[in-house]
């Protein structure tokens, strides 16, 4: 063990903290934001008592959850019951390792731009897909280990839902890969440089919709929250209490942030400004701004739409989104390889 390795380990630890701590904090304040926005939509106040304009409410909630007793049912499978929240939180946080938050020369210290991600993985997009497909296990384990009928049914529903929507999500991303010619998230953003018209939301608009709504279903947010409906008490985490319960919602909100970040990176030009003249504002601000807007859209959905019934949700995933994505892959493929048409699509494929 020499000093280089120690320094590298220290930098990694700092990088992990620099991502995990803001994610945890923003989760706390997204719950506040959500309550205020839903209150605003429904013409009421929302939480406004603790602190100025209710700003300390998330801290009060957190404190309450920590102080509550964690109850472990006697008939549950102890190991898996305790492991389940951790299993569901882990993928939600680990996925952030490859997310590029912008490009920087570190105030002129480096000659070339470096991507602001912990690991600039060549297969970054696949990594995100692989890791987010793991979040099912936390739900499955929680439902099974609780050894109780409502959590079990919630877990079954969650699994069906996540498997179904993962497919259309993955196929939607194939079109992005086709246009960007890379699985590296930094490359994908760089392929969208040059203003609003170059963003992938223009040629891939149906895929943007499919990806975002599938993301909504993956994170089990309202219209797709039949995983945790009232008829199942509260779905797979019925038996959980205190901090373990909070861990599940932490994972859910972290996944929501991740989906919003990925949508902005893949379809909304990442850290680029809509018009190049606005590039003086730092890229990270743009990326986080787009993400914040998409999180707002998530909350807006929640305040607007009624819940899907189970068969309607399955129909949407398999009979609407899957054919859309398959058709769009064919459309993009035909455009890329037909002489004459390729000059149109080449506008979005600068690397070609």
């Amino acid at each position: 063990m020499n000093w280089d390795m120690a320094a590298q380990a220290g930098i990694w630890a700092l990088e992990i903290l620099a991502i995990a701590v803001p994610v945890a904090l923003s989760v706390a304040y997204i719950t506040y934001f959500e309550r205020r926005v839903i209150g605003w939509v429904q013409v009421r106040k929302g939480c406004n008592r603790v602190g100025w304009a209710g700003l300390l409410q998330p801290l009060a909630d957190g404190l309450k959850l920590v102080l509550k007793e964690t109850i472990i049912p006697t008939t549950s499978n102890k190991y898996l019951f305790i492991a389940a929240p951790i299993i569901s939180l882990m993928p939600a946080l680990v996925a952030f390792a490859v997310v590029p938050f912008g490009e920087t020369t570190l105030f002129g210290l480096w000659d070339v731009m470096h991507s602001m991600s912990m690991s600039n993985l060549n297969v970054g997009l696949l990594y995100i897909m692989a890791i987010s497909s793991l979040s099912i296990y936390g739900v499955l384990m929680a439902g099974w280990a609780s050894n109780s009928k409502y959590p079990f049914m919630g877990a079954m529903r969650a699994t069906c839902q996540m498997i179904s929507y993962e497919i259309s999500m993955g196929f939607g991303l194939v079109t992005v890969m086709m246009l960007a010619g890379s699985l590296n998230l930094t490359d994908i953003v760089q392929a969208q440089a040059g203003g609003l018209l170059h963003w992938y939301m223009i040629p891939l608009f149906p895929m943007l919709i499919v990806y975002f709504i599938s993301g909504c279903a993956e994170t089990a947010r309202t219209p797709f929250d039949l995983v945790e409906t009232e008829e199942l008490v509260s779905g797979y985490y019925t038996e959980y209490s205190g901090m373990w319960f909070a861990t599940f919602s932490l994972a859910e909100y972290a996944a929501m942030i991740l989906i919003s970040l990925m949508t902005s990176i893949l379809f909304l030009g990442g850290w680029y400004a809509p018009i190049p003249a606005l590039d003086f504002i730092p890229g990270t601000v743009w990326l986080l701004g787009k993400t914040a807007f998409l999180i707002f859209v998530f909350i807006w959905f929640r305040a607007t739409f009624p819940r899907y019934r189970y068969d309607q949700m399955m129909r949407l995933g398999w009979k609407v989104f899957l054919p859309w994505t398959l058709a769009w892959i064919a459309v993009v493929g035909i455009f890329i390889y037909t002489p004459g048409l390729d000059s149109i699509i080449n506008f979005w494929m600068p690397w070609r």
Binding site: N77, N122, Q312, R315
Partner: protein, 194 residues
């Protein structure tokens, strides 16, 4: 040096978790061990610079195949007494398979192919070599025929599975969402002059 440490870590953990799969009494625990085993196998692929295969390993095996396994195993009986009922009945066949596998493994281990240490930690490729591009190029040129045959077989299996499970029930009522959405005011309402 660090690489050897990681190799031993991943290899050791995958052997331990594979043993866990067989030895765990609870089927759900077996499934979890198997998932952990796949993770370590993916880690081994990463050490060999095969990051594409490593990620696909997690995406397909852990993210899809094992979810279906878990789904089925969740419904199984977990009382060990009942699980042991057919133990003697299956012992000869299971024992035979175990012996054959054992002989094969010993044969492979003593053949000398795996005895040199450099098999585990191969020469590293430069950063510029993109795994995905390399695999794509070789798969769609040299091995195109095999790849397409595999794809067709998978497609046939897919359609076969759908055909086997598809049954339309005449007595069940289905919702036609497009018809519902297309309903206009005139279809349902009638203005009556009193």
């Amino acid at each position: 040096m660090l690489e050897t440490v990681f190799f031993n870590l991943f290899a050791g953990l995958s052997i331990l978790s594979a043993m866990g799969v067989v030895l765990a009494r609870n089927t759900m625990h077996s499934v979890m061990f198997l998932i952990f085993c796949f993770f370590n196998a993916a880690g081994l692929f990463f050490l060999l610079d095969a990051e594409f295969i490593g990620i696909i390993m997690i995406l397909i095996y852990v993210g899809a195949v094992m979810v279906l396994f878990t789904f089925v195993v969740m419904m199984l009986e977990i009382h060990t007494a009942r699980l042991r009922e057919g133990f003697l009945q299956y012992l000869p066949m299971g024992g035979l398979i175990a012996i054959v596998l054992m002989i094969e493994f010993i044969g492979a281990a003593t053949s000398g192919v795996f005895s040199s240490g450099d098999m585990a930690t191969a020469e590293h490729l430069p950063q510029s070599v993109n795994n995905t591009v390399e695999i794509g190029q070789i798969l769609y040129t040299q091995y195109l025929l095999g790849f397409e045959i595999a794809a067709i077989i998978l497609l046939v299996a897919l359609i076969g599975a759908i055909v086997l499970t598809l049954r339309t029930r005449k007595d069940a009522k289905y919702q036609k969402i497009s018809a519902q959405v297309n309903v206009r005011k005139e279809d349902r309402m009638r203005k009556v002059r009193m």
